[in-house]
């Protein structure tokens, strides 16, 4: 038996963090139904990905923190639109790991007392990242905020607000923006093998009494991490594109931890009254305006990008339609498992062998994963919560269902009183893949790089907002110090590429921004 270094407070917190994810996961899953696809064996690759996450995440997260803390990565994540927001880290990271754990428990291959150091560490990493990413709204996830996500600082929100171009249904900008968002959404689902994880929304941000702003991120669009995008996405200019969207006369009452939104009255295209367009990554020092110099330039840019993703969609669809089932399984499982891979990019420790391969410990399970078993076991795991491990004492009334169930098994507290437990799954094992080898090409805001160049630049670069003198200048400090030279310097930096705010500084109110837009 191990000498326990685990204490009561750690167990209480870890079980609480798992319960937070149980409550949100159940709600997300029952309002969506189990996802199936005629093209991809979705439940099969999802189940494979959960095992990959269970066996590898602890080691890979420790590798990332060997260079950069979770809370530092979270701070950087607030200032760009890459795949470490929702659902990437907010939901995918903890839940894929926990779903792998839960499934293995029900196969008899794991006890709820196994790999406790790993479990406590993964949930603690998640907590620190989330609190940092959500620093401006003060929550741990969107669910805790009543399904809302206000990530932006005032400085960044003001730039987005000020630089929106007005549009109305039927005008050329409105149509170009809508067409791009529809095509990019479609492409995003295809890139991500039927999952929504290339898409993310945060907000709403209040612009005036009748108008709210949402920020929509379309991620991993170009030749970058995924082998299946090699060549077919060579013509896509930007890997991560964000659209700022002003919407009138409806309220976004729900922005969930999968990054999806709902509005009352329902959001429809005619309510879109303003748009902006940006690119970003961990080398871009914030959001870079795309085509924002004039209305005409923005229309042309939306059209150009829409054409690029439409072309890539057709090429990618044909490529996928010719894949074997094992290749589809790999692409899907890697998409899911690598949902938080950008953590490694930000830290500058990305290795495609870490993220683009199926760990051999997980690979063993592939022969189990026919369509029927995978569909049924996934449904039991995330919808019915009918696995034996998920049944809890009979007086329990679970949130949302009132049933005596829990998605993720608690750590038994008895490990503090002598119940045996194990510490870790161990190091990363070798991986395999049926996919073509990945080309060493990564599209970034600094051009197409090799993996080694990308890591080197990531390690060398500190975004301005993360420099020691600015990193902790939160809106509470700005409230009382906006006239200080330091606040001015920070706002002037944030405004450096803004069409309307360049040089305006830290003293503007939201009404001032509205007045500037008139």
């Amino acid at each position: 038996m191990k000498t326990s270094n685990i204490n009561y407070a750690q167990l209480l917190e870890t079980n609480n963090l798992m319960q937070i994810n149980t409550d949100e996961s159940y709600w997300l899953c029952v309002t969506r139904t189990v996802q199936e696809s005629k093209l991809f064996p979705v439940p099969s690759y999802m189940m494979l990905s959960y095992l990959m996450a269970y066996y590898r995440y602890p080691s890979l997260l420790r590798k990332i923190e060997g260079r950069m803390s979770a809370e530092e990565v979270g701070t950087r994540a607030r200032n760009m639109g890459i795949k470490i927001q929702n659902p990437g880290v907010s939901w995918g990271l903890p839940c894929f790991y926990l779903l792998g754990r839960e499934w293995l428990i029900n196969l008899g291959m794991l006890k709820p007392t196994d790999a406790l150091d790993d479990l406590i560490y993964v949930m603690n990493f998640w907590k620190r990242f989330q609190l940092s990413y959500h620093r401006n709204d003060g929550h741990i996830n969107n669910k805790e905020f009543g399904h809302r996500s206000q990530i932006l600082s005032e400085a960044r929100a003001q730039v987005f607000h000020a630089d929106l171009y007005d549009c109305v249904a039927g005008d050329e900008l409105h149509e170009a923006a809508q067409a791009f968002m529809a095509s990019a959404s479609q492409y995003g689902f295809l890139i991500s093998c039927e999952s929504r994880i290339s898409l993310h929304n945060h907000g709403p941000y209040k612009l005036n009494d009748t108008t709210e702003m949402m920020v929509r991120d379309f991620m991993d669009l170009a030749e970058s991490d995924f082998p299946w995008l090699d060549d077919v996405a060579a013509g896509v200019e930007f890997n991560n594109v964000s659209v700022t969207m002003a919407v009138k006369d409806c309220h976004f009452y729900l922005v969930d931890d999968w990054g999806s939104f709902e509005a009352k009255p329902e959001f429809s295209a005619d309510k879109l009254v303003g748009v902006g367009l940006y690119a970003s990554d961990n080398l871009s020092d914030g959001h870079i305006p795309l085509g924002m110099g004039s209305r005409e330039e923005l229309i042309d840019t939306f059209k150009r990008l829409e054409h690029q993703v439409r072309e890539a969609t057709n090429k990618l669809w044909r490529k996928i339609a010719s894949m074997t089932r094992d290749q589809m399984m790999d692409a899907g499982a890697i998409t899911y498992f690598a949902i938080c891979k950008d953590l490694a990019h930000v830290a500058g420790v990305y290795d495609p062998d870490d993220w683009m391969m199926v760990d051999e410990r997980a690979e063993r399970f592939r022969p189990l994963l026919n369509d029927e078993y995978s569909r049924d076991v996934l449904g039991e795991l995330v919808g019915y919560l009918s696995n034996p491990s998920q049944r809890v004492q009979e007086y329990t009334m679970m949130q949302h269902s009132n049933a005596p169930t829990r998605m993720y098994s608690n750590i038994p507290y008895a490990v503090l009183a002598g119940e045996p437990y194990t510490m870790t799954t161990g190091q990363v094992y070798p991986g395999i893949s049926y996919l073509d080898p990945k080309k060493d090409v990564y599209t970034t805001t600094r051009g197409k790089l090799t993996a080694a160049e990308f890591n080197r630049l990531s390690q060398e670069f500190t975004p301005t907002a993360s420099l020691p003198k600015f990193a902790h200048l939160c809106d509470t400090w700005v409230k009382y110090n906006y006239e200080s030279p330091l606040a001015q310097e920070f706002y002037l930096h944030e405004q450096r590429n803004s069409r309307r705010l360049k040089g305006k500084g830290a003293g503007l109110s939201r009404a001032d921004i509205e007045a500037l837009r008139k």
Partner: protein, 249 residues
């Protein structure tokens, strides 16, 4: 035979799905046998020796056990029965039988023709509200082969696609060419629901229909109230109707 930790369980027993139950019992038998061969030492087994002792061949034997008993698996991805036709149930409505194929959902609400000659043939969850009812020609879209043909030759005008795939990828390159969509699965928050809303294509999700064949003229009540997350959570019945206006041929 050694006993597993989960063999004693006060609150849980068995799986909901017979297939999952059979698979899990078989895997647990394998784990018990291998753990016994390791002298019952869990600590050295769970993240060490089990990686070598429990292999892909062991898991292959689990599937074989059900196949040997005569079971054939349901399929969801078209690639699955195409690669292993001996393992999956036959695929219907994806080939030459398309002309006579129809969804026949027991939950479909059907009614005789109304004063306007509209015969209700089912209902579904409306994704987004539009000012007018959507009328077009019903065409089942159920396989990548069919999508590839439409991608090559173009989607026929006025197609209302009938799909049983709530995902957004099968029809990715042609979705915006549909006049409307009737999807037999998912919810208004599924990927296909999201995408049809983005493209402004009227769509009913979770549709239950009966008696609609390839080439029938149909209408979908996309003027109805959309079904929201709150409606799903409260289990509220909010549906829009599907009508057949004219049978094909």
């Amino acid at each position: 035979m050694v006993k597993l930790y989960v063999d004693t369980d006060k609150f849980g027993s068995g799986q909901r799905s017979a297939t999952v139950d059979a698979f899990h019992n078989a895997v647990k038998d394998i784990v018990r046998a291998k753990l016994a061969a390791n002298g019952g030492h869990w600590d050295s087994f769970v993240f060490g020796k089990s990686f070598d002792m429990i292999t892909a061949d062991d898991f292959r034997s689990v599937e074989k056990m059900l196949l040997d008993a005569g079971h054939r698996f349901d399929w969801s991805a078209a690639i699955s029965p195409r690669e292993r036709p001996d393992v999956y149930k036959p695929a219907e409505g994806v080939g030459e039988d398309m002309a006579t194929f129809s969804f026949e959902h027991a939950e479909a609400i059907v009614a005789a023709a109304d004063a306007e000659g509209r015969e209700q043939r089912g209902q579904g969850d409306n994704v987004a509200q539009y000012p007018a009812i959507c009328t077009g020609i019903a065409r089942y879209v159920r396989s990548p082969t069919q999508v590839l043909a439409y991608l090559t030759d173009g989607v026929p005008a006025d197609t209302i696609a009938i799909i049983d795939d709530s995902g957004g990828t099968l029809t990715a390159p042609i979705l915006e060419q549909f006049k409307g969509v009737i999807c037999a699965g998912g919810s208004t928050r599924s990927h296909l629901g999201i995408l049809t809303r983005e493209y402004g294509v009227p769509c009913l999700m979770n549709a239950k229909i009966s008696g609609i064949h390839q080439g029938d003229t149909v209408a979908i009540e996309c003027t109805a109230q959309p079904k929201t997350a709150d409606d799903y959570q409260a289990n509220r019945d909010v549906t829009a109707r599907v009508w057949r206006l004219k049978a094909a041929g």
